[in-house]
Symmetry: C2
Subunit: 223 residues, 2 copies
């Protein structure tokens, strides 16, 4: 039980979700879980900014220790609870290096995704350009193709034979792609990866509650 | 000696520089060091893409292991050479968490910096807006102010009393700010941090060669 931990999170956010997966994998159930609504602006509330002055989710506390960066939280949990739950860092040196490579390439994938799906959220109306949206879509397509090819070369997990921090961190981004309509036909390896991992207990039990009984969106169907 | 390591790098690039600092701190001198020119497009050469298909620097090999993401390389070197050279992860749990927090917030600082300094490189002429440039500058100012306040609250290093991976990773970004004219008067704590660390052997010996005898630029002097 992890009664000395508090996590504030928003549904569907890959940075929040990866922390929830890591907590499950490390057998840290029973933490103080506070779901907040991005739509209602609750991530800007005083409860959050008292822990995370950036007004962003996740916001995480372990006792008196505050840590809000999702990559940092995952690394911290693995380090502090090495022998508890799933070991998330492969012993094999080459797999360990591949895990690190994929973890941090995951930032580029998520960034490419955000540029496409959140364009109108980030860019004021008078600064929008069709040429930029087209370039962003091409960039995301190329990036997703790169990840499809990674799983052609190895697998079944992102760093090879072992479920690792790379999966904890990048799976939510891949799930986000499919939630927004990514074609299983165009990206069969990513689809197989997604379909296998979505039944993993740590992932199933943390599946975004607002995704459960609602249809996905088609924004990426032609990618 | 690290004769089984190869690093391809470009001068002044914070992602390259942090890897060079990590190698020095871990006493991994003697690696195969290949300086390439961004200006000549050498990061897109076959030598690079054979190691890093993204055509980006750094590109790094240790024996047969390829790892190109700078955060990943730093974590890998610390993990593989734990007891060699400087210990870059504090034993103290709270300092360790603060190190991770600052390391990953460093991504936001670097991103804010790139949005300002590389605006014309990233954004085609017909898509540029004064309003975007103004917003980017305000965002960078707010971000740099945040880091100034971090050093008011603790220090002398980014994670507290111990030089750590947070410094290895974020110092090059802070040095970049001052290279581009950041005011020492406006940001005295960052200036003190910069001035102390720039004489550290690992940093002095890896200082960007193209910065040594050339003046900085004033782009950020009014920030």
């Amino acid at each position: 039980m992890a009664k000395d931990m508090t996590l504030m999170w928003g549904a569907g956010s890959p940075p929040c979700w990866r922390v929830m997966i890591a907590l499950e994998e490390k057998n840290l159930q029973g933490y103080n879980s506070k779901q907040l609504s991005f739509e209602k602006g609750e991530h800007k509330s005083k409860d959050v900014t008292a822990i995370n002055p950036r007004g962003q989710l996740p916001a995480f506390k372990h006792g008196n220790i505050v840590l809000n960066e999702s990559y940092g939280i995952c690394l911290y949990l693995e380090d502090q609870f090495k022998s508890q739950g799933t070991k998330l860092t492969p012993d094999n040196k080459a797999e360990n290096a591949l895990m690190l490579q994929r973890m941090f390439e995951g930032l580029t994938l998520f960034d490419a995704l955000k540029q496409v799906l959140f364009y109108t959220r980030f860019v004021p109306e008078n600064e929008r350009h069709d040429s930029a949206q087209k370039r962003n879509a091409e960039n995301l397509k190329s990036e997703v193709g790169r990840w499809e090819s990674y799983l052609q070369g190895s697998g079944p997990y992102l760093a090879g034979k072992t479920f690792s921090l790379a999966d904890v961190i990048v799976f939510p981004v891949i799930a986000f792609l499919f939630r927004f309509g990514l074609s299983e036909e165009h990206y069969p390896k990513l689809a197989a990866y997604h379909n296998t991992l979505k039944d993993r207990p740590s992932i199933k039990s943390t599946w975004p509650p607002n995704w459960v009984d609602t249809p996905g969106q088609p924004a990426l169907k032609d990618l």
